[in-house]
Symmetry: C2
Subunit: 400 residues, 2 copies
């Protein structure tokens, strides 16, 4: 019998307890022995809940109990989660977390402590919910050098963009709907401004590069400026609009970015809709691959947490090496990367041609008084210079 | 330095040697030491090839060399591959294979020998080429009970169906094109009759159920009867036609089948085109997930083989348990499973209604002299009975 503790009895934490109960037999078969929750750490008491007697309020009680070998952290936020997790690892316990803020900021440090203590720090649920993307990078695609990783990593914004596309509605209206359905929070900033996706691509880039990526240095644009008119152009071009978090190898470094993109039907992420997440990976020998699934939600996320518990239970006392050093990776300036840009401007076609040269003009049904066009391939810096020269740019969305 | 041998220097075998060379550094970093090919077993000599001096013709030479810890089998076919692989495992070496025929027929037996010898028998490349589907089932989705696994597992037929859909062409014409392009073999039976996909779904079902599945007992229909007219109906319904290999949990067993299916745009496999493969998985807590990538080809397949080599190199002398017993799984009779059927018949709508009751009629553009309709949900047995009563059935394709 392996005893574990769960820190945080919110949506994911209670999901973890539920999954361990629902699949008790199959999990025991996988691990080789039963897994039992000994403590649940929460500020609240949950009278009447079957978990009631396991509730503790002081994390030190868990840290001090040598019988507890594995700890699940599902509290969210950097503090006090970091202090709690660090204490558990220093006490020789393995820890899994669903907390992307913690992993993006403190991943390298916690991995190093786990290694030193012959324990493990895992975080499958921190990116892509139930999609096993962390394990795919660390343990599956091991023959490859990963040259690109591009994901739809935020279910809230993907739900909103899908709804805007299907119904022709505006950002503010779908946001209200998403909030009413519980998909978006009251303060939706982290989702709609792309901050959530930014932390997730920082984690994936750190793993692929083996070095710490500072998420604050990743150029990040959200979806707040995407409008119903943009979708009219997208439809005309036969493309979808998705918030992509992307990271590409450029020489010795990586270029990372979060921004809305226009995707052609041939793109593996074109058809990823609603709250689903997906991650596209390009390996130097594998070629293109894609992983798709529920990026959030109680049970899918808990499924990923429990898969970590199973892995850690099978490796008690043995550290599984993860390459992610505390040394910071100097990201390539995104302004050097080249791509095509879709632009809407209030100036006429002749003025566009004068500045951007040979472009493809797009006329959307029911849109008047503006000019839409797609540029040739150019660097971000080049685009910015030309856009400033053109002036009157109403919108710019990159092509994936 | 870890010494390995490659048995079979064809497309995949030479790809394995190439991947080990191309990614030598990153692989050494993953493993903790360098991986070197000591022998290549082949009937041929390859004079002038850099591999020339490593060529051996007798597998016993490899088996007798204690320095060789890992053997790659990329010969194909059950014999002599089985004899060779068994000998290597009995000599205490770990073996990885890309050979689905061998795995489908002898998987359980070889896994048992590996376990007894504290070695490993792995076969990531036998299903889905570069897609890490075996490792996902064995090592990633470990918190779940997998309730359904449905794949597009044959790239040749997917290429052909995609071309038929795009160009409105007939089976015979796209087969010739696929043969000319090297996607289909001179004798295309194994692909177009579904036998290849059948072996692959047998392997996946065995892993999910933990018991041996006899692939000969899986109901298998190929794509030879799919016509240009069928695609006209599919277009009218907004669906795609794909050869699906599917396995669903039914009580204590599984129901497995290989057959062409009509897929709605919402289906995660709807948009998987050309030679790509994809596997849809439904877990009881994970919900829906999908894995997509190159299902064949020299380097993607070699990528999967080498990922096995890396995993085995990290676990020398230690068996990683795989649940797949030699006890045969009694599959549920597919005739008991329920679904909807699309049917084309030469009788009129009134006659259809008399036998099938409430159906949805479909009229395809440019098709005359026949009646197309979609039935309500019913068992295969029920459908067969009604179809026999109706008579004059020109085509039947199941809805996914």
């Amino acid at each position: 019998m392996i005893k574990i503790a769960v820190m945080g009895y919110g949506t994911i934490g209670s999901g973890v307890v539920e999954v361990l109960e629902t699949n008790r037999d199959s999990i025991a078969k996988r691990v080789g022995e039963e897994v039992e929750v000994k403590y649940v750490l929460d500020l609240r008491d949950f009278p009447g809940d079957p978990i009631e007697k396991k509730i503790v309020h002081d994390y030190k009680e868990i840290a001090a109990d040598e019988e507890v070998k594995i700890v699940v952290e599902t509290m969210g936020g950097v503090e006090p989660a970091f202090t709690f997790v660090k204490t558990m690892l220093e006490a020789g316990k393995s820890v899994t977390t669903s907390n992307k803020a913690l992993v993006a900021e403190k991943g390298a440090e916690l991995i190093a402590i786990a290694k030193e203590k012959k324990a493990n720090f895992m975080f499958e649920a921190s990116v892509g919910g139930g999609i096993p993307i962390i394990r795919s990078i660390n343990a599956c695609l091991t023959a490859d050098k990963i040259e690109e990783i591009t994901g739809i990593l935020n279910g809230t914004t993907n739900y909103m963009l899908t709804k805007m596309s299907n119904e022709g509605s505006e950002f503010d209206d779908v946001l209200k709907d998403a909030q009413a359905k519980g998909y978006a929070e009251k303060d939706p900033t982290a989702d709609v401004e792309g901050y959530d996706a930014c932390r997730k691509i920082a984690i994936l880039t750190s793993l692929v590069a083996g070095q710490q990526v500072d998420f604050e240095k990743i150029h990040t644009e959200g979806i707040t400026k995407v409008s119903a008119v943009d979708f009219k152009y997208a439809k005309k071009m036969g493309k979808s609009i998705k918030l992509l978090a992307t990271s590409k190898k450029t020489g010795d470094s990586y270029s990372a970015m979060v921004a809305p993109h226009l995707l052609a039907p041939e793109h593996p992420l074109y058809n990823v809709n609603d709250v689903f997440n997906a991650v596209f990976v390009h390996g130097n020998v594998l070629g293109d691959a894609m992983f798709y699934g529920s990026g959030a939600g109680k049970l899918p996320t808990a499924s990923a947490v429990v898969a970590d518990v199973v892995d850690m239970a099978k490796h008690l006392g043995k550290n599984i090496p993860v390459e992610w050093s505390t040394e910071e990776l100097a990201l390539e300036d995104y302004k050097n990367t080249e791509k095509q840009f879709f632009v809407r401007t209030s100036v006429d076609e002749a003025a566009v041609k004068e500045v951007f040269g040979d472009v493809t003009f797009v006329k959307a049904d029911g849109v008047a008084g503006e000019t839409g066009f797609v540029t040739g391939t150019m660097s971000e810096a080049d685009y910015e210079e030309k856009a400033a020269k053109l002036g009157n740019v109403l919108q710019m969305i990159r092509l994936a």
